[in-house]
Symmetry: none
Subunit: 193 residues, 4 copies
DNA sequence: AATGAATGAGATTTCATTCAT
DNA sequence: AATGAATGAAATCTCATTCAT
């Protein structure tokens, strides 16, 4: 029986950090390995190449986040409560695992072509929930036009949410991020009205 | 009478397109030159190196956009009108020069370290205008707390705005973007109330 | 009572196949182990390194073939018969163990430096037999010139023989190869006359 | 106007020599570049990668040889003369450009999968000529069986020819190779009778 | 001004081999 | 005896930049 892998987790952790700090393309294997405290070749025992590592990392963390949001949006509580829980979940994630949170921010801009088209993204959770809520309120299937408006509102809410996070990350607003949970929820609610 | 250099504009155009499509780091001199239909060495006639081209490109286009927003936000019209004009200006820019628009989206994530710290960014225009408007409404200097709230609201508005654009870019919503000028302005106004 | 090692034969078999299909240099330990269904490290239980495995493999199979030819060429039957038996032995080998046959074809081009200089090769068996036969026919030691001619004729016969096999291997002629035993023997005899 | 390429020919020459001496897989870019007296990167200006260089090299030289044989086999002279001319052409090639000659020997064993299936090979020239001659002698289209015999005879002649060359290359027979032109032609003729 | 050639530095990846269990 | 993990060295290839014309 061989020894247990010693480099796998450090490699993932190092890649996560460096991808977030410098971007995927600007991060080399060498640096990842150095930060992980292992050889460059070790990476190739666990993933066939850098792209595969990148993809795996994003998929794992994205699905974590999707699960987080799914949980927050589940249940029978009023929509407002569930929205607030979602914002809180994400902002707490930011404060506790900032790297994971920031990885999600990177996705749109660095990985459009690498991720599978049909992968469920954090935005989808919100969009679906808003859609369902509107349908529930209307007591019927939404018209094409209402559907489109629903998507627009989701976009707006996600935008509010991400941009506030971005401001905190880049120092335009002071953290921690969960300070803003209530105000951001309020802003989101306003767009829904 | 020196005739204008021939390779300069094609190079800028090619760089713009490739930076937007693949990211700055993932785009090489080779590809830029090939797309511009000139040699790799030509670039070094016009800029001392790749970083300088990158920087110049971003600065030029950013200042275009800042000017656009400054113009839209200037004047004595009611704030609502000026906000609407700003949204319209940006969305029209997207529809007419999508590459320039998308370059601006890239800035936050790819260029944090390259651009001069004190450069005025599109967000700043909105933030300043919102700040001024609030001060005007209150008829006095804003308190620290009100200032912070003002920044939060700017973030929200910028977020709405960018995310709607992002949705159109990635095909989640149908373009052209200026279709959404009114609804997006409405959503922004709601957050201001 | 030590039980026989389990990985040894699969490794040899896999190496044989891959060496023949892709060449010695183009075949890695990784692939050999994967084809053998065991770990890469297993190889080092049985041979000190890749070169040793390579050498052992070639030596074993070459000596098999040499023995085959020696047997066919032995005895008191007329030379023609023994030549025919040799061709038949080789062509049957090809039909029954094509990999072994093809490994022998590889020797000249891939292993000049690895095999011991003085090792007896399949060609040597034929050359010796032809030489002996000519001496027997002439009833005396061959002159220098006759010796040289004898070597030339051996080369020709081996060439005929190998090239026909090569044609079958690469699909220029239809197999099985032992179909051609008689015609090839005839052609060889013609060159001897 | 840029300078003329200085590394292209040396690279081809170095690759030719090393491929022949050590085999394609055993020859590295580094060694090729060192022998050519240029940097490793220079190779990539002229061919997209090592495989492309290999392929181009083989294709160029093979078509040279095919042309040589086509010329030798052309004309109205008796077949015997033309066969002799072919053997002479090849053996002279060996003596004058031994590397090119030996490259042809390598083809079957190192490049089966890389070369395009439909490429005309030196063997094809001989096979076609023998086929035509037999048809001419018979004054009619050859039967299926006669065709097959014709291919067998081509194989034999090519085999004689290549194996004699191989013997000279590996020192089993003394060169220069064109010493053997007449005797080899004789041997070939015998197989045709 | 403009070019294709050339390059040193470095990126990614592969390899045969050794290690720890 | 056997394994999967790990590694240093080397292979292939890319990159931004400089050179010679």
């Amino acid at each position: 029986m061989p020894r247990p892998p010693k480099a796998r987790e450090p490699l993932k952790q190092a890649a996560l950090q460096l991808f977030v700090e410098r971007g995927v393309h600007a991060t080399g294997i060498r640096e990842i390995a150095k930060h992980a405290g292992c050889s460059e070749a070790a990476l190739y025992r666990h993933w066939p190449n850098k792209d595969a590592l990148t993809l795996a990392l994003f998929q794992e963390h994205l699905s974590e986040v999707v699960q987080l949001l799914d949980t927050a949006m589940a249940g029978e509580a009023p929509f407002l409560e569930r929205l607030r829980a979602s914002v809180a979940a994400m902002f707490t994630l930011y404060d506790e695992q900032p790297l994971v949170f920031r990885l999600v921010l990177l996705v749109q801009h660095e990985l459009a072509q690498v991720l599978p088209e049909d992968m469920r993204m954090p935005q989808d959770v919100l969009a679906d929930a808003i859609f369902a809520e509107r349908e529930h309120q209307a007591q019927k299937k939404l018209s094409k036009k209402d559907q489109e408006e629903s998507i627009l509102v989701s976009a707006a809410i996600i935008g509010i949410f991400l941009q506030v996070a971005t401001y905190v990350i880049y120092g335009r607003m002071e953290g921690p991020l969960n300070t803003y949970t209530d105000s951001v929820t309020d802003l989101c609610v306003k767009t829904l009205s």
